[in-house]
Symmetry: C2
Subunit: 438 residues, 2 copies
């Protein structure tokens, strides 16, 4: 097994104003390729700390990937630091200037000095063409260790990885190691309850298979990783353990692999030829955003109404004014009418609705911050679910969206709409669509 | 100046399935406090690598913050690894069990063995109460270096930082160092054009002040950092340089400090007593999500319609069927009518609309992926802007939202709606509201 180090460069990482998504992405891709990332470190735009990061490789490290610090501005020093580290001069690279000029011409703009300076590269490096930007990548080799320096802009970095590093690893570094992953997604069950449920199974796992919990707001992913040599029957082993786990998870499993819930729902709607509409209050368009982040969602998502204001709920969704007055906007009555209103306005088979107090203000003793009613209208019935989430606005929005999407998933797969395990769920109101007078 | 190391622990970080937002947050807070984060590293749930991370501190490191690996499940080994590292036994901590039991009682649940095991802590550590979860934090000290181990769940980690580490740094570690930041936000100008515009100013900056570019999709933040001792007049220095920079940025500066665009707009709407509605197609609810992520947005945001389907545009927004047929859904005619429709339906002063081809499919020769029309309707006029963004769906959605919000900011501040610098902007159509027959 080969090990790798990821070094992300940029003062912004140490000051915390930018979140390092690059190294997570790189780590995931390297793992898929069978390269183990043992070191992941972030340093500032600082010659000494970049040197330090390059000097503290583990003995078995054969691949080093650096990202960031290649921009045209004065604070970016990665290129000249690498030149110094490898004892190289900067030399002018004609082809890179041509590429930079092409990019600028395509945008109808002039190449300025700063951009042109990006064509000066360390003499002994292999320049790597950056399709989407002006900062080229660079490849170095010393004592059997391979170094790749990539720009920090995520889509530029990703393209360079796919075009250069992936084939390089496959052809030059790929060890006789097999790594397989299987991921199982659950929603609405806390980690500790889940752990208890699958404890006996976990204890009997063969040594080649490791389990990891990946919790996030309202959801827990379980990842099985199988590691071994190429002649081991890892796929069978992983499949067998995955089947046992699926039995234990039952209907609480909502997806396998890398599918987010919104994609699972998209597939279910698409394959059944059904359509969806939304009526959102406290989630403020977030459910619609999740649904429409899936390419091709226009096939089944007709639209949604973000009815933030009382009047908007009445005018656009036909919620009864008297019900808002009597029961409040956060009530089963209102989310039931919102769901049916959305279904009617957009002419769909299904609709979801949500109305709640996301926080930080607006809570009362009776309806504290975190109180959310979620509505679902299917071709057969309309239901409302009362949840009590927490105090954090963004987490409440996220949890509401996931709970709503999971209800839809259950409806689309024919699973029970009564047997929901979330400890946040407090009440269910069921109503047949035909009884609805909205 | 004191230096710190952040160690984030968890296999998920090295496999890349979880993005490390904790260390960005910690780095930002530590910097504000005047602590320089020189090392930031991520390791797996692996005894040896945790030891390695603890053993490779820089000579001037006096603060080490570890996050993650404190969960109740078997793959979390931080606690026992720290006990071994500091040569301590695990002992039962009565008060922690009481706290865990309280949390579970409040949720109406039973404490299981796994949760109870979290009350066993290294004998020589100071336990730190975790208000929002069952895994306590831990504080250690050895040879003048202070170690804090915090849970990986972000809101639990943040509360522990605020309650224990912030006061500890202020009282015990705070050096005679002043660090001040000023952040300036721009939208729609590429980094290299910006760099050229402010180059002369950047070169004359005093040595105490450093400039950093923080680019993200469609926006560039400029951060000035002033460092020095407490008796230096850094505030005046920073203010003076900030003023010069603001002159150079002019109306392209949309905010100072840590304000996202959606918050700036919220303040502008609130202070002027004006209201907003949205009509979104290609952004699919994302603009509404941004607007409603700001607490208190219900004061000025009345609602929005996500009209993903053609029929939805006609029925809910009153877009003329004949115009959709003649010009297509991605056209100036349609976004103009969408904006005015939203204003009418929700009865607001302003409305934004967007219709485009986010991708990856749906592009044509005439309207390739990335083609987006944005509409804005003010009390005086309605305008449509044609943008050509790129090929990436999520970036197109994000860029469209930012461009739309920036148009609204300009309208609300009385800035020119003609002088937009973005190289992606291709055409502007202006129409007086009174000429609109929708």
């Amino acid at each position: 097994m080969i090990s790798a180090k990821i070094i992300t460069i940029g003062d912004e990482l140490l000051i915390g104003q930018v979140i390092d998504t690059n190294s997570a992405w790189l780590a995931e891709k390297l793992n898929e390729l069978g390269v183990e990332v043992k070191q992941r470190t972030a340093v500032g735009d600082d010659r000494e700390m970049i040197f330090h990061a390059l000097d503290t490789l583990l003995p078995d490290t054969r691949l080093v990937i650096l990202t960031g610090g290649l921009g045209p501005t004065r604070d970016d020093i990665t290129k000249k630091t690498l030149a110094e580290y490898f004892g190289m001069e900067l030399t002018f690279h004609e082809e890179t200037l041509r590429h930079i000029t092409e990019i600028f011409n395509r945008l109808g703009r002039e190449v300025n000095e700063l951009n042109a300076s990006q064509a000066w590269l360390p003499s002994g490096c292999i320049p790597l063409k950056n399709w989407y930007g002006t900062a080229p990548g660079m490849q170095f080799e010393r004592n059997g260790v391979h170094y790749f320096s990539l720009p920090g802009v995520p889509y530029e970095m990703k393209a360079l990885f796919e075009n250069y590093i992936r084939p390089f690893v496959a052809e030059k570094l790929l060890p006789d190691t097999q790594i397989l992953h299987a991921v199982f997604h659950t929603q609405g069950i806390p980690e500790s309850i889940l752990a208890k449920r699958i404890e006996a199974w976990e204890l009997q796992l063969p040594p080649q298979i490791k389990l990891a919990y990946l919790p996030s707001a309202g959801a827990v992913r379980l990842r099985l990783t199988a590691r071994g040599s190429k002649n081991e029957p890892l796929e069978e082993l992983l499949k067998a353990e995955g089947e046992k786990l699926k039995q234990l998870l039952g209907v609480d499993l909502y997806a396998e692999g890398d599918e987010p819930l919104e994609k699972v729902i998209g597939q279910l709607l698409k394959s059944s030829g059904k359509t969806l509409a939304l009526a959102e209050s406290c989630t403020g368009g977030y459910i619609a955003h999740l649904i429409t982040s899936v390419p091709g969602s226009s096939a089944y998502f007709m639209g949604g109404i973000v009815s933030y204001d009382y009047v908007a709920k009445e005018v656009t969704l036909g919620v009864h004014h008297s019900d808002i007055l009597q029961y409040g906007a956060v009530s089963s009555q209102v989310v039931l009418q919102m769901a049916e209103g959305a279904k009617r306005v957009f002419g769909t088979d299904y609709a979801l609705s949500a109305s709640g107090i996301a926080g930080p203000d607006g809570g009362t003793d009776e309806k504290p911050v975190g109180t959310v009613w979620i509505g679902i209208s299917t071709p057969h019935q309309t239901r409302a679910y009362l949840y009590r989430f927490g105090n954090d606005r963004m987490r409440n929005i996220r949890k509401t969206a996931l709970a709503a999407l999971d209800l839809l998933r259950r409806a689309l797969t024919g699973a029970s709409l009564d047997d929901i395990k979330s400890p946040d769920l407090k009440e269910i109101v069921v109503q047949n669509a035909t009884h609805q007078n909205a």
